[in-house]
Amino acid sequence: MKAALLYGREDLRVEDVPEPQGEVIVEVQAATICGTDVKMWRHGHRVLGPYPCCFGHETAGVRVDTGERVLVSDSVACGNCAACRAARAQICREPTWVLGGFAERIGAPAAALHAIPDGLPAPAAAMAEPLAAALHAVDRGSDAEDVGVLGGGPMGLMLASLLLAGGRMVTVADRHPERRAQASALGARGEPELDQHELVFEAVGRPETWRAAVCAAAPGGTVVLVGGCPHGTEVTLPPAPIHYDELELRGSFHHAPAEVDRALEALAAGILDWESLLGETIPLERLPEALARSGDGPARKSLVDPRL
């Protein structure tokens, strides 16, 4: 079968490879591109296997054995570590990562599969993976009504959509006017920078935006850090607001299996205008150029359809 393999930094090749192994084989219909895929392609990543390795972790398709439509979640928690026992599967210490959506077929443990609600198209179902992380981040936040989201990329706009659906007042800050316009179209305020908010989500993942998010928190406020900084990044935080304004900073990583099901239900219920976040649909061969191009302009997720 055809698959996209990483051979090293910015070295991606689409090749014929042996059929995948796994408990269940899924025929891929939609694999959306995430910012983490770009990081994996540019810099490598700790969860990747040894080169050459497959990647792609927002994957929807059809089970070869039963014909059931499924979302392939990107991880299965071990169920035994302290985090799993504390019902925090998202920070499991020994997860099995399930990567390889940028291929015609992917092998996965049955525990990674989530049934796609009837009528929900495969591209929308693939977006349940990042949407589950957004749901998790919203739950890590407080119930404050006035919310700022720093970063108007797909994650920022997903957060805004969920918060708006929950009746909150949302401001999305982004330096790109196209992304501010997308935020406005959702019903949020689009601004170049955040003012002060009781709850702030950071959805960029850079030390300077972490600091900006802390500075945008009102006294007694909560900052949820959804954008992870690269490994080895040291973040220097502004001292005065943290102490004298009693801020709380909460990391938010990944999602638990129940949140993936909730995300699929939310998509089926129309809570996310997923079509507005969908970029062009491309064959596997065009994945390298799509990875190189991402980052600027409107927030849209390119979709790989390996059947093309």
Binding site: P219, Y244, E246, E248, R250, F253
Partner: protein
């Protein structure tokens, strides 16, 4: 009356002020004792307030009451809080009463290092009468213990959890005692000074090695100690910055770890009225051994020396007794 007024870190003068008189709803107390807080000797923090009569951990005896005061009577021995929230605003309702606009606007007149203090009605109404048998010098620890209790609440520290206390000065020692009272399962301590470490071990903490903990309370502003504490927190755990970081030494954290391990970084400022009441109960009930923490007792004339003992780390807790 005599007061000890600070003009600089090394310039504390004994001055004569007019005796305060209570207005309607106000109370004037003779100060029995006032503890020296680390913030009184955090020179970058204090500089903006000077000249001032410092000291905000006082106990006293009610000397005169203004018209309409009915919660205390002349002769009552009381613990005094120096800030009080309105209890009604949005921040108060959301549990951030120390962020209330009124909180920092209320203050002692003139301060705790004085023979007498005037309390505005908002502070008078929050006076806590000391039960018989509670020593007024030991009761100066009610305010710092209340701050510790607030930090433990903000850190969501629960019975059965494990706690790392970084720094075994008076706040660290109070944290250890309060954690035991709360039923915390394991209390670990990090402290470079052997004498302080020994004191912490005597109070039932264990020396920290490489154990992962649910909560770390960092009672030092040192960036390296904060970063090391964050490394000791288990996935999903909480780091509480108890000591305010200095403007020129901001905290530095591993940006990947905070995210990947879903840590919560929290801070706690001062204490609310509920924290003060809970603190009084712990001290009155003997659950926190206040006597062992009061290392130095000095008269008002030696306020400068008391401040220096605290600044140089010689005192666990120095108390000024006018």
């Amino acid at each position: 009356m005599r007061v000890a007024r600070s003009f600089g870190a090394d310039d504390v003068r004994i001055e004569e002020f007019d005796d305060p008189e209570p207005g309607p709803g106000e109370v004037v107390c003779d100060i029995l004792a006032c503890g020296v807080c680390a913030s009184d000797v955090t020179d970058w923090y204090v500089a903006a307030k000077l000249p001032a009569v410092l000291g905000h951990e006082p106990t006293g005896i009610v000397r005169t009451v203004g018209e309409g005061v009915d919660n205390v009577a002349v002769g009552d021995r009381v613990a005094i809080h120096h800030h009080t929230p309105c209890g009604e605003c949005r921040r108060c309702r959301r549990g951030h009463e120390t962020m209330c606009e009124r909180f920092r606007a209320t203050r002692l007149d003139p301060g705790g290092f004085a023979e007498r203090v005037r309390l505005v009605p908002e502070l008078s109404s929050e006076l806590l009468v000391l039960p018989d048998g509670v020593d007024p010098v030991e009761a100066t620890l009610i305010e710092p213990l209340a701050c510790v209790l607030r930090a433990q609440e903000r850190s969501n520290l629960r019975a059965g959890d494990s706690l790392l206390v970084v720094g075994a000065g008076v706040n660290g020692l109070l944290s250890i005692a309060a954690a035991h009272a709360r039923g915390v399962d394991a209390v670990w301590v990090r402290e470079p000074r052997p004498d302080r470490l020994a004191h912490a071990l005597e109070t039932g903490a264990e020396r920290h090695g490489n154990e992962l903990v649910d909560v770390a309370i960092v009672c030092t502003p040192k960036p390296d100690a904060i970063a090391a504490a964050a490394e000791a927190v288990a996935p999903g755990g909480t780091v509480c910055l108890y000591a305010p970081p200095a403007p020129d030494a901001p905290p530095r954290l591993d940006g990947a770890a905070l995210f990947l391990r879903e840590l919560t970084l929290t801070a706690s400022y001062s204490a609310g009225p509920g924290d003060m009441r809970a603190s009084l109960e712990l001290i009155a009930g003997g659950e926190v051994d206040a006597a062992s923490l009061i290392s130095h007792r000095l008269p008002l004339e030696e306020t400068a020396a008391a401040l220096n003992l605290q600044r140089q780390g010689e005192a666990i807790k120095a108390v000024v007794i006018p």
